[in-house]
């Protein structure tokens, strides 16, 4: 396996400075029909990508009854914050009905909290344990290291379909159904990809500072927490973001183990909300407000870390 060693995001962006130069040259050429066509294609792709988000926002700010009268308007119909109030349980039943709510009381606030706990704790545990393991697999010398690493690495070959049902049975036997522990435990302790990713980084990282600290008599653990982890904060942040996205969006596993509303994440609530909408007159405005709410943290992550995500995905792929 040819693996581009370590400083992942750095190496991905390092190739960029030379590329733009070549492209600037190309850009100075006149706009040939082929290039114009390519730009049109790109514009269409961007439009198709973005339109559903715009439509989600436009609908979520509309009055659900008014939507029926004017379904094609590009702007919110009868602008109102009502749908957001409705799905957060802030709107009175009468107001909700007047604006086209289904009358079923929904309060997504609790589910948002559940999602934050689930995604937050699971990501934290997963990244923490992966960091410890990656350190042991890169900086420490011990017998059987590569063998154990190889065995753990083989887990990447085991797909979810094979383990989901037995894991459900295990969680059930442990009496952890409908609990955060049951939701979090299977992925929290061990993640082959994160261990692999961080190990690669540690291996490529200069160990001079750590060795100097060692000569000064610092213990291994102290070095790990005071020197190695701070030095690796970049890639650790990256896998944390990717982990948080995955957990926040997770649907299948919570669907299996979380039947109780007190622990259900937002994705489940959204699915239930969609399916319990009356067929004749669904509360589309409310649904879009709920969907936007579920997407919001990811949109924020995107705004703050978009560039980092793009670069790190590129790396994880080329590996």
């Amino acid at each position: 396996m040819a693996i581009t060693t370590a400083p992942a995001p750095a190496s991905a962006s390092a190739t960029e400075p030379e590329a733009p130069a070549a492209r600037r040259l190309a850009g100075r050429r006149r706009l040939s029909p082929g290039r114009a066509l390519a730009w049109v294609y790109l514009a269409v792709v961007v439009l198709i990508t973005v339109f559903p988000f715009a439509w989600m926002l436009r609908t979520a700010l509309s009055d659900n009854f008014a939507l029926i009268q004017n379904p094609a308007s590009l702007l919110p119909v009868d602008f109102t914050w009502g749908p957001f109030g409705r799905v957060l349980g802030l709107q009175s039943a009468a107001d909700a009905q007047a604006e086209g709510g289904s009358g079923v009381s929904v309060n997504l606030g609790g589910f948002v909290v559940n999602s934050v706990i689930y995604a937050g704790v699971a990501t934290l545990c997963q990244v923490f344990f992966a960091t410890l393991a990656a350190y042991a697999f890169s900086r420490l010398q011990w017998k059987g290291r590569d063998l154990v690493f190889g065995i753990l690495f083989s887990a990447l070959m085991i797909p979810g379909i094979l383990t989901l049902l037995p894991n459900f049975v295990t969680i059930k036997e442990l009496g952890l159904l409908d609990s955060f522990a049951g939701l979090i435990l299977p992925g929290a302790l061990f993640s082959a990809f994160n261990i692999f990713f961080l190990r690669q980084f540690f291996l490529g990282m200069n160990s001079e500072i750590e060795e100097a600290a060692m000569l000064d008599g610092a213990s291994r653990l102290r070095i790990l927490f005071r020197i190695t982890i701070p030095l690796a904060s970049g890639p650790i942040t990256t896998i944390s973001i990717l982990g948080f996205i995955t957990y926040w969006n997770d649907y299948f596993w919570p669907l299996l183990v979380a039947n109780d509303e007190s622990v259900q994440p937002l994705t489940l609530a959204l699915g239930v909300f969609k399916q319990s909408s009356p067929q004749a007159q669904p509360d589309w405005a409310g649904l879009m407000a709920a969907a936007l709410l579920a997407a919001l943290p990811m949109l924020l992550v995107f705004l703050v870390f978009g560039r980092r995500i793009v670069n790190s995905l590129g790396f994880s792929g080329v590996k």
Binding site: A38, W142, A155, T163, P166, P186, Y251, I309, L313
Partner: protein, 315 residues
């Protein structure tokens, strides 16, 4: 592995700095104890939630297991039953149809977009926008498209009618439902695969294109003769990823159609879920999971072989 060489000199160097050999080896023994301590959580997680369930899944597929009573060994009965289960075969057909549509479109869109991006602009902003759908949940995508594709009020049908066409029951018509689900999936994942292909393109040295241009090759020719061959390893990887992902499609189907109308979108994973949690037939559901797993293995290996993924023409 080349990476080993990087770490190897380190301990040796340290040992020379520490004259007494015994202290070096005791430090190493301390290292071993610490190492096992540090990997203990990972090992525990690996055994309990990866290795054991994988083996247990295989075992359960040879049993009659209804969760409430203990599993009972029935040999190959589940697999024999599977052979005569028309619903299984039709769901397999539906899944394969979905996979072919999804994979073909995803590859087409992501390679085209990546190449266009690569030739036109280095803007990270555009690449970030393209990745946007990858960041949101399948459930959100499913809900949004249910609305946009609604037969009466959905914007897509309104546009179709404005252009003089007839409204289409995208998620309610038997003929339309699978292609529609495939399109939603492509919207959701093509951005991610585009970025992967784009990263592959970035590894191609630009001089190659300069040389191609000097030899008088046009854009199309350079794409066919230079880009495609050099991109083969990463395309093989993206292909395998997409196929494996598409075979396990579930979330979007569960939220939009639950396998309907009249089982027209009952994909394998949906059927497995229904068997396990609708009918509590865990043995049978496990057997189907095992079959799906076996198919994925065979397909992945076949693809890797066909595309000679481990070799790059770059040498």
């Amino acid at each position: 592995m080349t990476t080993e060489r990087i770490t190897a000199p380190a301990p040796a160097g340290r040992a020379t700095l520490r004259p007494p050999r015994s202290s070096a080896s005791s430090a190493r023994r301390g290292d071993a104890r610490l190492a096992w301590l540090l990997i203990a959580p990972s090992i525990l997680g690996f055994i309990v939630f990866a290795a054991y369930p994988a083996l247990r899944g295989v075992y359960l597929s040879f049993t009659d297991y209804r969760v409430l009573s203990d599993p009972e060994w029935i040999g190959l009965d589940n697999f024999v039953e599977l052979g005569g289960d028309a619903k299984f075969w039709s769901s397999l057909g539906t899944t394969i149809y979905f996979v072919i549509l999804t994979v073909a479109l995803t590859m087409l869109v992501s390679v085209t977009t990546a190449v266009v991006l690569h030739r036109l602009t280095s803007s990270t902003a555009i690449r970030s926008v393209v990745i946007l759908p990858f960041l949101i949940s399948n459930v959100v995508a499913a809900v949004v498209f249910s609305w946009m594709l609604d037969r009466q009020l959905g914007i897509v049908n309104i546009a179709i009618e404005a252009l003089g066409g007839d409204a289409v029951g995208f998620l309610t018509d038997k003929g339309w439902v699978v292609p529609t689900l495939a399109l939603i999936t492509v919207w959701k994942t093509a951005g991610y695969t585009t970025i992967l292909v784009f990263a592959g393109l970035q590894t191609i040295p630009p001089q190659i294109y300069e040389a191609g241009k000097l030899d008088g090759a046009g854009e199309v020719q350079m794409f066919r003769r230079l880009t495609l061959p050099l991109l083969r390893p990463i395309m093989a990887m993206v292909l395998v990823l997409t196929v494996i992902g598409a075979f396990q499609v579930f979330d979007i189907v569960q939220v939009t159609t639950k396998g309907g109308p009249a089982n027209a979108s009952l994909v394998l994973q949906m059927y497995i879920y229904d068997k396990a949690f609708g009918q509590f037939d865990f043995g049978y559901a496990s057997a189907m999971s095992l079959v799906l797993f076996a198919m994925l293995i065979v397909i992945s290996f076949a693809q890797m072989r066909l595309l000679r993924a481990s070799e790059s023409d770059q040498g």
